[in-house]
Every structure is written in structure tokens, then in C-alpha cells.
């Protein structure tokens, strides 16, 4: 009986979410239809949908998503590949941390967009420039996540490993790396979301496709429906990557439950 109640409650909450979403969309549609706001300022959901269908027919919807997704993936993966070993090194060595601290403190607060001028000069209008913007936006937070994860490992596990005869390198491979995997993974989920933010900056300049380009281009042509569609697509893609990430987490971290 109790379990039935639990289950009911779970599904009731889901239904509530769905109803809330529908109500939200309907209200929005009504406001637009009733002319309370000009659709130039805020397009109705139906207009956004119509735009989506049109772009789908022109094959540009998928192309835009794919372009941004590729940039996000390359920049993000590069950031991950750099930050995991470097982060573990910085997390375990006070000396290395002291050496890198000033540089990290400088890089950490810089928005990805502030890298546009320099990367443009360094890499020109290539895809590399766009990857590098995503990379620069993702790498310092990723590094900080890894450092924190490394330091969050229960020191008693390291003691136990040393006590069982592990040398420093073995401690790193057998204890620190697997031990900080959960935090690294959940950190990377956040960083992936952040990378999507950066790709918009990256597509601000000299892009011909991508969701950021779509939003900016929609703006130029006063197509607010394209702008909103671009925003919806970003949310959507991030939600999907979140789900994928959760699946990865569940399979990699089977030992957690």
C-alpha cells in the first residue's frame, strides 16, 4: 500500500510538471494571440514551431545543431584531456599548486568572450579559433573541479593504500583517479553545460552556422522566432547531453549503489 502511494506520488509529480509546461506554453500562446505583446518582441510558441518546421525542411536545423555540437565537443574534450592529469597533479602537490596558482587565478575569472580578440588574432577565423574559445572557457573551471575532487578524497584511503605497499604512482592510479571519478564526472556535466555557453561566444564572430549564429542572425533579421528557437534548441541539447551523462555516470559508477 505504501509503495503504491509512493509510486502514485512520483507519477503525480511528473504529471504536474507536464501540466505546468502545457499551461505555461498555452498562456504564452494566448498572450501573443491576444496581442498583449507584439510578436516582434515575443513570438508565440506556434510561430517558433512553424520556424522549426521550416528550418527542418531546409535541413538547416540539424546542420546548426551539429555545428555547435561539434565545437562544444572538441573544445570540451580538449579541456577534459588537459584538466584531468594537470588537475590531479595540482591537487596532489602543494608545490605545483603554488607555482600554478597565480596563473590560474588570472585565467579563472575570464569570460570565454574576452578571449575573442586574442584568439581571433592567433587563430584567425578558423574552426580552431572557435574550439579554442570553448576550450578556454571550459578548461579552468574543469581544472578547478578536478583539483577539488582530488583533494576531496578521504586521506584515509591514501593511507590505507600506502600501508598496503602502494608507491606514490600506484596511489595516484589506484586510489586518486578512481576516487575522484564521481566528482569529476558530475563536474564535467556542469562544464559541458558551460561549454554550450561558450560556443555562443565562439559563434559571435565569423560563423556561418551553429545555434549561436542562428540566434545572432535571427536577431539581425528581426526574426524573434528564430532567436527563441535557437534558445529552445540549446536548452534541449543540453538536456539531452545531461541525460546521456547521467547514463554514463550510472554505468561507470556502478559501485556507488
Amino acid at each position: 500500500m505504501a509503495e503504491k502511494k509512493e509510486w502514485l506520488r512520483g507519477s503525480a509529480l511528473l504529471t504536474l510538471s507536464a501540466v505546468s509546461l502545457l499551461a505555461f506554453l498555452m498562456l504564452w500562446e494566448l498572450i501573443c494571440r491576444a496581442g498583449v505583446v507584439d510578436t516582434v518582441f515575443l513570438p508565440a510558441p506556434s510561430q517558433v514551431l512553424a520556424r522549426a518546421i521550416r528550418m527542418w525542411d531546409q535541413h538547416s536545423l540539424i546542420a546548426n545543431i551539429a555545428a555547435s555540437a561539434r565545437r562544444v565537443m572538441v573544445g570540451f574534450l580538449a579541456a577534459v584531456v588537459v584538466s584531468i592529469p594537470l588537475g590531479i597533479m595540482l591537487g596532489t602537490s602543494k608545490v605545483a599548486r603554488a607555482v600554478f596558482d597565480p596563473i590560474l587565478s588570472f585565467l579563472r575569472p575570464l569570460p570565454s568572450m574576452s578571449w575573442i580578440p586574442l584568439t581571433l588574432l592567433w587563430f584567425g577565423i578558423t574552426e580552431t579559433q572557435k574550439y579554442s574559445i570553448v576550450f578556454m572557457g571550459a578548461v579552468t573551471p574543469a581544472l578547478l573541479y578536478v583539483i577539488e575532487a582530488t583533494q576531496g578524497i578521504d586521506p584515509i584511503l591514501i593511507r590505507a593504500a600506502r600501508n598496503l605497499g602502494a608507491n606514490r604512482w600506484q596511489v595516484m592510479r589506484e586510489v586518486i583517479l578512481p576516487g575522484c571519478m564521481p566528482q569529476i564526472l558530475s563536474g564535467m556535466k556542469v562544464i559541458l553545460g558551460l561549454s554550450w555557453t561558450c560556443v555562443i561566444s565562439a559563434e559571435l564572430v565569423a560563423a556561418k552556422e551553429g545555434l549561436g549564429f542562428m540566434i545572432m542572425n535571427g536577431k539581425e533579421f528581426f526574426q524573434t522566432d528564430t532567436v527563441v528557437l535557437g534558445m529552445v534548441l540549446i536548452s534541449f541539447t543540453v538536456l539531452i547531453t545531461d541525460v546521456v551523462f547521467r547514463l554514463i555516470q550510472r554505468s561507470v559508477l556502478s559501485w556507488q549503489r
Binding site: 581571433l120 565569423a206 556561418k208 539581425e220
Partner: protein, 304 residues
């Protein structure tokens, strides 16, 4: 032989009409050139692409080029000026406004670091209006200008084509002044941001024939625009999204230089270069750059 690939940096601005026409009508192909068009929203990103080596030849407003010269970059050379416009840039106001003085206390939208910005600062100086106190200048990217003007968020806009045409087309709008009001225009026929063609130094050195061919094609296109403006307009509409009427008037208002004009402008006596030098000095005065470059050092007329 296989055609030489030239990566060209352009936009919808009229300074790029020549290259666009030459590309679309096969004039480039005739000179053994495969022109690859890259669109940029701003001159500065186009220039950055030149610096990074992604673009071989670019057309640009000269303000951006002067700024780059001021910072000492030697990676490019100035090879020609394709046109002279005066009516494609200017200040647009609502019908009631008759003079600059009536804009005191009002909001004027302009894109910072553009030729329009220079024009605005210059005409304000001529009228004795303090740009910081008497008016409020709003920094807006060119596309935002139209939105802001339409939504009554600004009282005047200084813009160039095609935004210029779009705003002008709005009902109740008139042109208060255009580039002919620019102080250097009167003495040197120098607009605040004349168009120039730049070549990446390394590319020019390695492919002198291709650069020469490119310029040939440009001047051929210029002749085409002068002689057959209607045909040219049709081709250009897909670049600019202007209406036929607007497109045609833009072409007709502009003076399209021939090859013969070039030598005189660029080298001997080089009025254009002298004008540029004056412009650089003015930019310093208007606090836009912090060093006056010797413009002549960047001019290379050997490809003409």
C-alpha cells in the same frame, strides 16, 4: 594551369560590390583566380583574419586599417581604393529635425570604432557640440541601430549602407547629413572611412600576378557597374537584401574608380594617401588611435 585561390574577406557593404560582381560574373576566373568569399560582420574581424593569414585580400573601411597601422602591424599592404561614396553613409533623423543643434540633449546611435563614428565626432566638432555633454551617443552594432531607431530608443542614427538605406526607408525619416559634411571631404574628397583593398604582405610577395589579375577584375567590375547598373543591381541584391530601387540608387550614387584613376590617387600625386594621413591625424585628435602611422609605408601601388 589551375586557378590561384584567393580568400577574400567581404560583407554586404558597397566596398565589396566590385569583388562580388567580379566573382559572380566570371571576371575573376578570366584572370585565373578562384575567389573564395568569406563574410564578416565587422572590419576588425576581417582584419584579424588577414593578420592570422586566413584571408589573402580584403576590402575594408580605412579606419580599421589605420588602427592596425597605428599598432605597428606590417602584415598587410594597401593596394587600391575601389570607389568613392558619399551618399551611402550619413545621419538619419526624424522629419522635424532641421539642424544638428536641435539634437542637443538627444540620443544618437552609432557603431563605435566605425567611419560613422568618426563622421559623427567630426560634424559635432564642426558645430561646436560637446559629444560627451551636449548629446548622448549610444554605441550600437549596425543591426541594432535599426531596431533602436524604430523603437524610438534613439533620436538619430549614423549608419552606412545597407542599414543606412533601411533606416532611411522608414516613414518620417530624413537624411540630416552625409559624408559630404565631413571636414576632410571638402578639402581632400576624403570620406571618414573610404574603402581600400588590402593584401596580405606574404601573399602579395608570393603571388604578384594573381594580385594584379585581381585588381584587373575589380576595375572591370567597376566599369560594369558604371555601364550596366541595372544588371549589377540584380546580382548584388542577393548579397545585400536591398530592394531593386535601393540597390540601384546605391550603385549610382557611388563613383566607381577605373584603373586610370588609381595611380593618381595612390602614388602620384597620391591625393588619397595624403587625405588618409590627414584622417589619421584627425583620428588621433578624436582620441580614436594613440599614434599616427606614416600611411605611405603601407601603400604598395606596384600591382596596379
Amino acid at each position: 594551369a589551375a586557378p590561384t585561390v584567393i580568400n577574400y574577406g567581404g560583407s554586404a557593404w558597397l566596398g565589396h560590390y566590385s569583388a562580388y560582381i567580379a566573382m559572380k560574373t566570371g571576371m575573376m576566373g578570366k584572370y585565373g583566380i578562384d575567389l573564395r568569399w568569406q563574410a564578416f560582420a565587422t572590419s576588425s574581424s576581417r582584419m584579424a583574419a588577414v593578420m592570422a593569414g586566413n584571408v589573402d585580400i580584403a576590402g575594408t573601411g580605412v579606419v580599421s586599417a589605420l588602427a592596425l597601422m597605428a599598432s605597428g602591424a606590417k602584415q598587410f599592404q594597401m593596394i587600391a581604393t575601389p570607389n568613392n561614396f558619399g551618399k551611402a553613409e550619413g545621419m538619419l533623423v526624424r522629419d522635424g529635425v532641421k539642424s544638428l543643434n536641435e539634437l542637443k540633449g538627444k540620443k544618437i546611435g552609432v557603431t563605435y570604432a566605425s567611419s560613422s563614428h568618426v563622421l559623427l565626432l567630426d560634424v559635432l566638432a564642426q558645430a561646436g557640440i560637446d559629444p560627451d555633454k551636449d548629446v548622448s551617443i549610444i554605441n550600437l552594432p549596425s543591426t541594432e541601430l535599426l531596431t533602436a531607431y524604430r523603437a524610438n530608443q534613439i533620436d538619430a542614427a549614423v549608419a552606412w549602407t545597407p542599414t543606412f538605406n533601411r533606416i532611411r526607408a522608414l516613414p518620417g525619416t530624413r537624411i540630416l547629413l552625409d559624408d559630404s559634411a565631413f571636414s576632410l571631404y571638402k578639402s581632400y574628397k576624403m570620406s571618414p572611412g573610404p574603402d581600400v583593398l588590402l593584401v596580405r604582405s606574404v601573399f602579395g610577395k608570393e603571388n604578384p600576378a594573381a594580385v594584379k589579375g585581381f585588381l584587373q577584375a575589380i576595375f572591370e567590375a567597376n566599369a560594369f557597374m558604371t555601364q550596366k547598373p541595372e544588371e549589377a543591381a540584380k546580382i548584388l541584391m542577393e548579397l545585400t537584401s536591398l530592394t531593386m530601387e535601393e540597390q540601384l540608387s546605391t550603385i549610382k550614387q557611388t563613383e566607381w574608380f577605373s584603373q586610370a584613376d588609381q595611380k593618381a590617387l595612390m602614388e602620384n600625386p597620391g591625393n588619397f594617401v595624403i587625405g588618409l594621413q590627414k584622417l589619421a591625424e584627425m583620428l588621433l585628435k578624436l582620441k580614436q588611435i594613440d599614434f599616427v602611422p606614416q600611411v605611405r609605408q603601407w601603400v604598395n601601388a606596384t600591382y596596379l
